[in-house]
């Protein structure tokens, strides 16, 4: 199995790092005013080659399209988001989408807080691949450990559409994912995607706060009870 890879830190480490990361926030919360909190979130971009993962991130962070720009690399970005009273730092990790790297991909989303499953609406195969990724994420994370967003990119090429909007919507609903169609090229709903992620992350953080302790037995219950789509409400606020 992939987990037995020697380059992986032992599974124990994963839990520990998480503990560390979580506790990195606590002192800031304890220290008083709720106005100043910086949360760091890791967002991974998953999707087949050339579906526009990097372009999406680039459009969001630099508000430009990837074809014409001076930057050297675009596979790692950070973006500060201020929502209500909270400052959030999104770290966006681009990943290699080629099929041959599928087996090592789990290293990328280790410790991720959110994942964007990107597919190309003009290529049916990329949608199937996104489903595959979802299955892997479900294996790796508990449902409320990670925010998953299904993103259909390249709406500017709607004429060549192969994946119907309804089909993707239906799928997202059945898996209770956030769903959106975007275009990195024409800057359609790109910021909204990331804001939806930020909102959802914040919401989950808030849910955790009053209890101060995650209750694992409660997790699955919550999912079953409310498969609603809170993101849409959030991003419009």
């Amino acid at each position: 199995m992939d987990r037995s890879l020697s380059s992986l830190p032992p599974p124990r480490r994963k839990a520990m790092l998480k503990k560390n990361m979580a506790s990195r926030r606590t002192p800031q919360q304890e220290a008083g005013s709720s106005t100043e909190q910086t949360y760091v979130y890791k967002v991974v971009l998953l999707g087949t080659t050339a579906v526009g993962k990097s372009s999406l991130a680039f459009r969001y962070v630099k508000n430009d399209f990837r074809e014409s720009m001076p930057t050297v690399g675009c596979s790692f970005f950070t973006q500060l988001v201020c929502l209500e009273t909270t400052t959030m730092k999104l770290e966006i990790w681009d990943t290699a989408g080629q099929e041959k790297y599928q087996s090592v991909c789990h290293l990328y989303y280790r410790g991720a807080n959110a994942a964007l499953l990107v597919y190309d609406i003009t290529q049916k195969a990329t949608f199937a691949r996104a489903k595959l990724w979802l299955r892997e994420l479900e294996r790796e994370f508990l449902h409320d450990e990670i925010v998953i967003v299904l993103v259909g990119n390249k709406t500017d090429l709607a004429a060549q559409r192969e994946v119907p909007l309804e089909e993707a919507e239906e799928f997202a609903k059945s898996k209770s994912l956030i769903f959106m169609e975007t275009s990195a090229k024409s800057n359609h709903r790109v910021t909204e995607v990331f804001m939806a992620v930020a909102c959802e992350l914040l919401k989950r953080e808030r849910q955790k706060e009053p209890t101060h302790q995650p209750q694992p037995w409660k997790k699955s219950c919550v999912d079953l009870q409310e498969p609603s789509n809170p993101a849409k409400r959030c991003c419009r606020s």
Partner: protein
Amino acid sequence: QEEMSLKSERRGIHVDQSELLCKKGCGYYGNPAWQGFCSKCWREEYHKARQKQIQEDWELAERIVLFASTCSSSVDYHLKARNQWFSISSTFRSSDYLGFNFRLQREEEEAYASSQNTQGAQSLTFSKFEEKKTNEKTRKVTTVKKFFSASSRTGAKKAEIQEAKAPSPSINRQVSIETDRASKEFIEFLKTYHKTGQDIYKQCKMFLEAMHRKRELSIEEQSECAQDFYQNVAEKLQTRWKARPFHHISKANIKLLCCGPSPHRSMNSVDLRHVSSPGMGFYLSVSPEKVEKVMDQIEKYIMTRLYKYVFCPETTDDEKKDLVVQKRIRALHWVTPQMLCVPVNEEIPEVSDMVVKAITDIIEMDSKRVPRDKLACITQCSKHIFNAIKITKNEPASADDFLPTLIYIVLKGNPPRLQSNIQYITRFCNPSRLMTGEDGYYFTNLCCAVAFIEKLDAQSLNLSQEDFDRYMSGQTSPKKQESENWSSDTCLGVKQMYKNLDLLSQLNERQERIVSEAKKLERDLIDWTDGITKEVQDIVEKFPLEIKPKNQSLAAIDSENVENDKLPPPLQPQVYAG
């Protein structure tokens, strides 16, 4: 019949009773693992020899230190020292004390590591290569040593303790230079934090002492201690720096803080805290960056000191894994950029320059001690890769381009002790650096690359299984086949060679032409002289020499005293009558 079976048994085993006994003749049975001694005698023998060895070791070390101090330049020292090591160690190799040999090589390695810092970048790659070689040697030796000490536990252990108590001065010297520098820098750095700095220093000291006591524990437990330490210190710093400003600010300021969201705040606005009003100024001092900065220094200080004990410790199989990866990469030497779909064109000089730099960076990672410095090497390497891709594709690289290129770089560079380094970083790096941030991202990519290399197969290179197997077994190489099609595409050296060969053949051609022309010239000259001679002869024949008699008489005047006797006798003085 009984006799027969006994005989055949004897023949089969061929062991005399006396051979089984201890060589020392104490009456107990000996064991070939203890060179024919019984356990008790072997321990005594071994211990004695060990003592002697330690004595000699000391003398040797002193000699080396003396020798080192006489060599002025470090490069000089390095080379000479190496020669001396070899001459000395070769004499020891005949004796069986592998443990000692192992230490020799260790020292050699350490001397290397420190001399590298002083040497220029030129010799870097060479010494890296050498280091790799010695690493392999030591590895072999250690496994033997492990076996060795396991069979005679107490004796070896005692000796080892003694060794630990009295390490040879040369090691101390080399290591202490670096640790001293780290300590000095750390103390200088902490001075700017006054009381907090003192506190930090005290805690670090305590932690180091605790780690010293825990040296016997497994590496995982040690790692956990380090991680807990990082976490505790970070938390303390955060609360401390957060709490203190609160004593000094007025209530009005608190109110200002607590009242709702400020009007400046908008969605997506970037880091408002850094342009906040003076009332909020104190908050700047609590920025996570400040804590991170201190944490970095703490990491640097403690890890420089712990490196020796926790990097690739003997209790783990890190070394073995290193060897496996190294062998694997070596076996994959035939992989071309085309197979990995690497979007890098090395024929562009700038790109190949970047590739070389990236390889140097990733190799350099092994020479750093602090996990964060190692991470910095990986990041630097990644930046060069991005540049290479950008120059080739004329478009910034995405992760789809980056990972294959990183894999290619790792395959090409075969960085020393790759697994040990990765393990060391994951165990002892400040977790906030490792899990988030750019460094963490590139590190994860490196992990992916190594994982990919480990399980790389025919499919992932778009090859048929037969081809893959043939290349792996070394029967053929894709380069050989392809060289028939496009000969000069393979590597820079070969390309240069072909260019030189081309030049040589051109030169050869020219020389031949010169020789042939020279011959022609020679021929022409001969022909010419022949022609002239012929012409002269022709002329001579055409106009034969006519001798005119007149001319002859005239010529006779000048001839020497011709017909001298015909002349009248010279006048003689005559005497007149008188």
